[in-house]
Symmetry: D2
Subunit: 265 residues, 4 copies
């Protein structure tokens, strides 16, 4: 079954011959290996541009910020999967990545889109007043019973310590501050609209600093995803020598209740 | 159903409280965000140690070397998956990672284990003669019709350009050369045993340089896996604006043949 | 990090002791193994009810209808994945399933929701006139540049042969015809609204017959997913003895074009 | 990068035209939809043969036997994944399937291979004495510290109730008894060799009955995989209306201990 049009397979990312590999117009072996760090290479792969000093610092800083947070559900799912299928580490990594969805790690992207929406509505409907636009957008989300992505955190209730750290880096390296400021404006209007303090979390800080260095909004979801793979591999490497995968599942099993129909004897 | 023993859930990787996140004994926000690059953080997560200058250079260089190589099968599988399920980028990334198996990207790990095996057999059975041990191990692999992992490449037939680049970085930054030398010894005995030149590829060069900076052999498979996620995200970001996912599948469909039983009418 | 409320782990699906396994109130070994076919068991697992004769026939028929359709993208992705990672069949199956997304196999669910929406709007806004409601809903989808899920097919342009087969079974076994009729009403209004014939495909026929036997709308997506796993396993079993996985990828590679920046020498 | 030879894409499983879909030489709409149950169709897809009465009964019975067993690790991993990524049910199903590995659900295949090995060694080295061959193979596994796949169960310590149920069906429908008998012979020698009773579990009973009806040994792993997808979909459908996914993870988080380096202040 053929789906869609015939298109010649093509990519602007790389090409290769027997003698060399070209990535984004650079010779991989001559220009890149040993010349740039992996975070910078991710930026180059995505955008086709070498990151400037600010972009380099912030791509690396955001991935360091979001990579690891203990036995989160995706690390537990991955460790259970490795315990059941120890020969296929790639399967356990994949199981962990599949938890990078709209609820848990997708907020970096949805918060980024929120910033662009507030900015656009400020221009189109509020004479450039960002605070008025933020109030209007948050009120709209609230009325549709949606959360404000990137605000509030189940553990870091008064302040997510990663936010100040990322904003400090952004200021220090000269990253654009427009979305940092916008992220704070949104934080400030949330209590007015909702009656609750919901301090910004790392998932809003990530687009706040990255959109200021021309990181593409469409790839924002890739930042927590790539970062978490580093954490998943560390947890799975630990699982191989110090396993807790089945034990994690046993905790639930020990307490489980059957709420279905009783069996008829 | 309970499987295995009851064990208290535990990890040596990180812990957190409302005020801070601790990773490998360091305060994430104070000591790590903005202080180290993402490649170094991966080394820290895995090993609990900050990489020294050589380890930092080589972890980053190996991931840059292995991340991207065009429309490889896993990038095609991922792009087809995104075309079919565009709302779930994490699913497309997972589909791509699942191709990091024994045949394609697993050779970094199996080549690393090969080096350790040759080293061990040299000590135990060949009076320390690495070349004799290499000859013996390659002969054994050959007799069991197994490939020598990390040697030979379908495209880079005379030399994989990433090998020299990685070895140059290793020499420049002062990485341990023991496994670099061993990798060349194995390369030199392969024609004697098999009658064919099979030049080393990047998957042997990765453990050759990383084992020299105390990167754990059990986590070698994680290097291509983490690296390829960067490439997958770049390809999927390109797929969103310049789709070829279904077209990739159509090329095969257009030429497919049915080799089964003819239908009876 | 704790997310959400503490809830005692529970399920209404099954429980077990050393002596027996209870599924939906039945003793698995005494009441189910050897007593019912696998399609019926799927219905029981999902709904807690044994299917009646019509539901049994239609659950099985729909899964037979949707399971296999040749070298579709998800089968290609799975075969490429097995070629790269032959030791982990579960990974190749997972890669294939990840293509069961909104564009390709999700239409069974979205078409089912479309039927319920037309039914609800007929009652609330059109005095029970299904055709008027169908016209209004299709017009609305059209105006938002959305497709009508379950209508039109890239290969079966005049009629998807699986539709008539499923409707014949439904009539023969006495399944409820309400949604069958509604699916035809929608088919009839599409040319009026869009100017194009878009004959119903199997993804609309599946909810049309299943909603008539009380199959839960929330689980409709599970029908193509479970069915396709049977196909994936057959393709992967074929791949083991008659491999085409890498060849599928080579077809695209042979023709690929690099559309990026030329390298500077 | 091209890997392997150029091969024309082909499959013996199915082909299609605008008017019809042919599966294994049968017209899908005319010969299969509404004519056979889904379990039988799985057998046809895999083998190219319609199952006889015994094969039909046993393929369905084995999938009913293995599909569901409560909050096993893979169901927990899937429910956690859906909680984190509720928009992508296919991702949660994939995460669950990735736990169908060598330790947990792979034993159907490895037990089947064990039976064939014992049978082959009886012929080649023990003059046809199955018991002697079984004793020799179990002794060998034991000496290499490997488990005997399909024997012993963490919950069903004295007898797995699914075994007798499957064997009863096999006898009733006239399935071949050769591997049933062999499975009991192996069970009988285990206490001699290991000093422990390890009663057969469902994963040995599955190949015992399926190899007797010409189910291909290479596809045995597919039986628990396909079966568990039915269970996964039922658990995920339950998760949507009665969520426990995050709560499952919280149980472990509440008790977790940090065993790493203390932070230096």
């Amino acid at each position: 079954m053929k789906i869609g049009k015939n298109i010649v397979p093509h990519t602007a990312i790389s090409t290769s011959s027997e003698q060399r590999i070209v990535v984004r117009g650079m010779d991989l072996s001559r220009d890149l290996i040993g010349q740039i760090n992996f975070g910078d290479y991710f930026f180059l792969l995505l955008t086709g541009q070498m990151p400037d000093k600010a972009a380099s610092a912030l791509v690396n800083a955001t991935m360091v910020a979001i990579a690891e947070h203990g036995l989160v559900p995706s690390n537990q799912a991955a460790r259970m999967t490795l315990a059941a299928a120890p020969d296929a580490m790639q399967g356990a990594v994949a199981a962990g990545i599949l938890g990078a969805g709209s609820v848990v790690l997708g907020a970096s992207e949805t918060a980024g889109k929120l910033f662009l929406r507030v900015e656009a509505e400020a221009a189109s409907s509020h004479g450039g007043d960002l605070k008025a636009a933020a109030r209007s957008v948050v009120t709209d989300l609230r009325s549709r019973k949606q959360i404000v992505p990137g605000y509030g955190h189940p553990e870091h209730k008064t302040a997510d310590p990663r936010v100040a750290a990322l904003f400090e880096v952004s200021a220090r390296v000269g990253g654009g501050q427009k979305y940092v400021q916008l992220s704070r404006i949104i934080e400030s209007v949330i209590p007015e609209v909702t009656g609750k303090d919901l301090p910004m979390n790392v998932s809003a800080a990530i687009p706040a600093v990255l959109l200021g260095v021309n990181f593409p909004v469409t790839a924002l979801k890739g930042v927590p995803m790539l970062a978490r793979v580093a954490s998943l591999i560390a947890h799975l490497n630990e699982e191989m020598s110090d396993p807790i995968g089945f034990a994690l599942a046993n905790h639930a099993v020990a307490q489980q209740q059957y709420t279905g129909t009783p069996v008829k004897d």
